[in-house]
């Protein structure tokens, strides 16, 4: 608290409120973790601690296939969507029409997910039909299943879903980057790619890696578009939802959900701790080297 005139209690209440919000958000996650160690499963009166369900994760083929499918979809989506978001963010920085770029990029966010999913479903069905007809007319069968519902259509849906977020995350990181540095690199003899890779990328890589992580999380979380555009119940979320609707979630599902949460929290927590420690170390070094600000 730096402002001498601010209320001490106001400051404490703000912190309390923040902790309350975080607790509310994370409590369901912690509860799932708590259930995952219960031998008697969800809703049981008695609580017997066990690691049994974690041990059974890898033998649950349905769950393992779902995780694998989800990871494949996520990885492919990341490979396409992050460069697309980066290129669009760079376009935003140089265009004379930034508002147009932003409007176009964020427009998918204003369409509800089920409507977007349904629209894409109709689009791909019609596209597939058109190409099949074309193939018949030409006398080949190459085009028959090009746009069938499956991995390809699901990936397109995931790209449309995640692209606005990737664009915003990268754009925020690029906010601090000055284009004079690219020009300075070019004047040192760098090509456009070298200037990006040597000078710009190191400064925006936090945003790029964040958008990769964010895309992975969004893909894991995604249900509507994936189920409409791919069908079946073979991704992480669709399996969980299917279990919930039909037979109730298996104990391995709670264990798997908790495991995914542990990994996510561990990765993000490590990054935060590393960043704080590194920042503290750099500040200490800078203070040790600091000289009075005089003309040289």
């Amino acid at each position: 608290m730096n402002d001498d005139y601010s209320s001490k209690w106001g400051y404490r209440l703000k912190w309390l409120y923040t902790l309350l919000v975080v607790t509310t958000l994370m409590l369901p996650v912690f509860f799932v973790m708590y259930i995952s160690f219960n031998e008697n499963g969800f809703g049981a009166r008695d609580y017997d601690f066990t690691f049994e369900w974690y041990g059974l994760i890898f033998s649950d083929l349905l769950m393992m296939d779902a995780i694998t499918s989800t990871l494949i979809l996520s990885a492919i989506t990341v490979i396409f969507v992050v460069p697309m978001g980066l290129i669009t963010a760079k376009l935003y920085k140089i265009t004379q029409y930034p508002l147009t770029v932003v409007s176009l990029m964020l427009s998918p966010l204003f369409v509800p997910s089920d409507i977007l999913g349904a629209a894409l479903l109709v689009f791909f069905k019609n596209l597939n039909g058109a190409f099949t007809l074309f193939g018949e007319w030409v006398g080949v069968s190459w085009f028959d299943t090009w746009f069938d519902l499956g991995y390809f259509s699901a990936i397109v849906g995931l790209i449309i879903y995640t692209l606005p977020y990737v664009f915003v995350v990268i754009l925020i990181t690029m906010g601090r980057y000055r284009k004079e540095q690219t020009e300075a690199a070019r004047s040192c003899g760098a090509t456009a790619w070298q200037a990006f890779w040597h000078v710009e990328f190191p400064q925006i890589k936090a945003g790029i890696f964040s958008s990769c992580a964010f895309t992975l999380i969004l893909c894991f979380n995604e249900y509507t578009r994936t189920s409409l555009l791919k069908g079946g119940f073979d991704t992480f979320t669709t399996v969980l939802v299917s279990q919930m609707l039909n037979e109730g979630m298996s104990e391995q599902s709670y264990a798997m959900s908790s495991l995914v949460s542990y990994i996510a929290i561990a990765i993000i927590g490590s990054v935060i701790i590393f960043t704080l420690v590194r920042s503290e170390r750099l500040e200490r070094i800078a203070r040790a080297k600091a000289e009075p600000l005089m003309a040289s």
Binding site: R178, E180, Q181, E183, A184, A185, R186, S187, C188, G189, A190, T191, A192, Q194, H198, V199, P202, Q203, A286, K289, A290, L293, M294, A295, S296
Partner: protein, 366 residues
Amino acid sequence: MSKKNEIAVEVKGLSKSYGPVQAVKSIDLQIGMGEYFALLGPSGGGKTTLLRLIGGFIRPTEGQVFLHNQEVSHLPPNARPTSMVFQSFALFPHMTVVQNVGYGLRLKKVASAEIKDKVANMLKTVGLDGYGERMPHELSGGQQQRVQLARSFVLETDILLLDEPLAALDANLRRDMCIELKRLQEKIGMTFIHVTHNQEEAMTVADNMAIIADGILVEMGKSSDLYENPIRRFTADFIGENNIFDGQVSKIEDDVIHVDLGSSSIAVLSRGQKTSVGDKVSVSVRSELARAIDTSTSSTEPLEILSGVHRESVYLGLTTSELITLDNGQEVLARRVSDRYGGHTISNGTSIKVGWRQQDGRLHIS
């Protein structure tokens, strides 16, 4: 046209438009090798645009750029024999000073040992020996500027472009860096093209300069010529502190042009400039050549005289400026070295005359 042995930079009919706005309008310019050349002008006049056109950072709408007689208009910055120093320092914040300075050499795939030697020598040249492992944010403004210079010098390109390199520095540091830049340029022998809106800076460093305003090249020449004998009215108005009188030619007597100011008339030497009776012209007089004269005093030499009222004396240490309002309402400035008259002061509101020698006036027909 300026030549120093051979021409390093030439632009022909160079123009740049952004939609309806013409930032640079058909400029022709030559800069000699090894020259320190300044592009001086008011903000928004097109000097930086011209510099960036020479550097390849923007494409011209029309015209050509030649570097060492090779046309480079189509080439990007990395393919031109130029390097650039920016107003905002533009150091790479994630690299140390050594890495910043050596960046261009690494791109050229110079051997590591050679890079190390060259960088060390260059840091010594710019007075930053021992600062190699520092990060840019640990340096002062002047130090950052020196790193930028070192990064450009080490590449041994022929032409260095400087875009308001001292604008971000305080006045004292700017003055010191001007002299330092001049010293470095003379030592290394590169062609410098320095953009600034600061007259003092341009006149300190430049061998020759061009006045750029409203996208056009107004006038070009040695700093002393532009200061003492400006041809264009704009130059007289922009450089130095000149009094400018607008009027109409009323009489021409051989080399002497009489100019009617409305309520009075003054005479000026034509110096070969062609005018006719009735032409609208301007006459400029440097404020240090104009004298405030008591109405009761008669001058010992023939002077051009205008009458007015003394408004204020402004003491600036070395000089004292007398602000005078003429009978037609125009304000003029007469400057003198402060101690010349032993502390003589003129009371405000006193009727006064302002005079100058005929040969100290400059005629401007445009």
